[in-house]
Subunit: 210 residues, 6 copies
């Protein structure tokens, strides 16, 4: 009943007018981003490789004994416009992730193995919400609040961390913000009530000046 | 009381500082789109023609006995940033629009003439919501769900179809997705439970390979 | 220099006026949702337990030899308003996830172990984008498109699956939409071009009527 | 190969956990709306009738010789959360729609029959963009700008009008805002530069006081 | 315990991968805007000057005896993507801001000094909501509605005006829209019910033609 | 030509069908908020008072020698759904606003009088962007970043502060988050590298325990 030659005509007629059907918008990361994300890479140059990120593996531990492998939009342009990003996080026994914030992202910790103690501090009542997590646990750390994590267990802990709200989440590490730059020491003292000696000591550790 | 020469000064002074008042953002479809749409055409080159689409007419019926004339952002750049698009739809007696989905748009059928049977299938309980529509009826088909339409009446049916949620809605026709490409036949069988002979037959009809 | 009694006054004065600082909005899932999500649970009843989901574990395999454990807003109210959700996915050797769509969510597969072949079909050119994934891979399957997965490897495959765009993603399984309900068989035939015998057979398998 | 009793188990297991899959959110218009729309009607009470509006027909002409039949969320709760609404518009020969604005909606005029002259005025350069439309034409009138329409043709004109940006668009009719209320006449004069006699006359016509 | 040379390695390793952390998106106002705003200026060229606007001062009164100094995105690119803008507003005794609308912005008047009478007209019941404000008052004028202001006090009034919803709010002044352009006088009469003599007179005042 | 009795019919017919035109959505702050804000107060109970906030005045200085008067949605329900809020800020000579963040809001400082030194620290390069502001200056402090302010001038400084992005912005004061609660001291040490004596001292000052 359906004649093949008619079909061909149909196929052509239905695919031709849909020039710009936007199934996806892979980031063209060489162009300037906008508040809504990067311009889209031309669909004609997109292949399956654009949808796959292949380096989501454990990194080398840093001096805090954890590693962090980002899959943000700059590493994985398929996240463009999706409003989330991911990272692989591994932390050795005794490792600590110092207090920090993500200005524009809620953190979702999805445990893979080991035991991780994570906590955040609310802004209104300064309550510390803290929990020791293991495989099978997910924890949500609300956007923009100070939080930390540490491995108080007896084996390496690993997690997939999702950042909801940003394809390129910022990370503001408290110590680096206070002591790892040229923030004037007298001003640090005034705005934190820390003692000058304490500031001097940590400026030394974190290579700050001022 | 109001002196004209003062007025002139006022007119100049009020129009000059408003360099970029954005009453509209006509798509510059030659530039790369972003997740929020195309960059805006320069306002100084915009005329009334940019706000009018003149080809919203019945098209030629395809082999399914319906025609579809899109007014998407690529045809009508005034839709840029508005989050909707439109199409003119006409279907002959006996015509059928096979099962398909629009990934990013809720379909709103606004009947003009004739009688059209339209239906969609929900995802949770697989309920078929189906209705025969006539002039004076509007039907909403929720975003992303499989749906169909057919003319079981005795005269041509016509409708204005609005796509809410996208300026360039995608259309995924089930038969073309399964049989009109190089989708490996064994894989089609495995992921649909269709019999190999059925797949082979329809691959023949829809010009698929694999 | 800072007197403690003054401090106390300060603490009271700064915490008192911030009655409704919204650090988070845990879903009150007993209330009716709105298009933007559930109303917020009263902050005074929120504890750390509200931020932790403890059942993100492998489920029992179904007849397709895979299991799927959702952490959607109904299971994990902390996802309310975040625009994403998660699931634990495990698939035995030979298991297949039949073709399906998520109307309102982009799927992000984050491999944990084993080997998984996943693919999706674009709407414009009906291209099959397919890839065999292993640990260390992430794959993005764009919103609303038909996709599938299968374990063609030699061991169980496991993944964390993130749904970007919805706290309660819909799942429309093609076979259930066609054959697992009371969708009129003649209508299925007309809108899919499948043979009546094929439809009858699969209606039998999937317990459909009509 | 697939045993029916296993299937049944599967069907139950896949449908049970998806308690709140949100394919749609029909407005519960008896509850208070939020900035994102009305709460959703309970899915268990939704039928196909909720997706169909049956009164999209020509209304009775008013004294301006046009009729306007709204399908806004209060009349058609299926539009909840979609960000658009519709109306049927019919205008007799010589009819005029006086200058008005829609605060929160871009108007899209889709001509059905006859000839309609429509125009809007930009805010920066006060340019009048005006066009006489006929069947097959669509015109976009940007959000919030003063606009008008009139039938200068020789037969009744009809159109489907879509409001993009609002499920319940506001309509501010210039004459009613100035003359159809208790707006103090001296204040009207001061803020419009209209002559007192003109104001008095139109206050009389439009039943205003003050 | 923390060795400085290790720290240095850490600092480098944490800063290097974050190529595009988006703390801010200062407008590159020489590029074409998109519906979501201007592309971002390259972060490497951003200095503290980009975050400071230095000309938020009283302007020269116009013939209506008020001045208006905009800090919109074109003047202050730091507002890009924030969805608000600001202006400094000063009005002499007896000054009047004629009726006007902002299509895409809710106006928030924050009084600094003097006394200002402001009012807006609702669209549904044509109610005039009017209030005389003084220092310590904030008033919200909803998006897109006709509103006015005047100084009926005994000293200059000043306010900071915030526009919520737009980085470049439009201003449609009723008199200029009707009389300050080439809007055909017969058409003005038809669509406003103003008398031809009134139109002619104000066309003269506002330098309109037609 | 226009007969008054016809007009009356028109007025009734145009106002009657617009039952729910949403010109505004004043918060009903006694109901539970949603992720998009509070439900709307019934329009029939709204008066001009709902649009005016009358307490935007200088408060009593706290021990840091500044005062802060919020006009957030809980104080001023007219901000519901607008995505911004305001506060009046006054700081005595020598006053300091200690380091803090707003999780969900960009701060816009609009100077009224005096001289204020404000600064923020970026997350990627830990750069301190700092500037001394005076009347006529606006400064933008991006969302979620640590920032401070102090009055190093010779007179009181005053500013209007707008929070873009939230109707109820959170305020996380660093010292209170670290020392003004029961955050375990050993954990504070581990996650900040501060010395135990320093922590003990400031726990004493800020009334913390643990």
């Amino acid at each position: 009943m359906i004649h093949a030659f008619l079909l061909l005509a149909f196929l052509l007629s239905t695919t031709t007018p849909h020039v710009a059907a936007i199934d996806f918008c892979i980031a063209d990361i060489k162009s300037a981003p906008t508040p809504a994300g990067y311009p889209c890479k031309s669909p004609s140059t997109v292949t399956v490789d654009d949808f796959v990120f292949s380096n989501f593996v454990e990194g080398k531990p840093n001096i805090f004994n954890f590693s962090f492998t980002p899959a943000f939009v700059d590493q994985f342009p398929a996240f463009n416009g999706l409003g989330l990003s991911a990272s692989r996080f591994d932390i050795e026994v005794g490792g600590v992730v110092p207090l920090h914030t993500h200005a524009d992202a809620t953190e979702v910790i999805i445990m893979i193995q080991g035991s991780l103690t994570a906590g955040f501090i609310t802004s209104d009542t300064n309550t510390v919400y803290q929990r020791t997590l293991s495989a099978g646990n997910i924890m949500v750390l609300p956007k923009g609040l100070l939080h930390f994590a540490l491995n108080a267990g007896s084996q390496k802990a690993s997690a997939t961390v999702i950042f909801s709200g940003s394809v390129q989440p910022s990370v503001q590490l408290l110590d680096l913000a206070l002591f790892g730059n040229n923030f004037d020491s007298a001003l640090v003292a005034k705005t934190t009530f820390l003692d000058p000696e304490q500031i001097k000591k940590l400026k030394g550790v974190f290579k700050g000046t001022g």
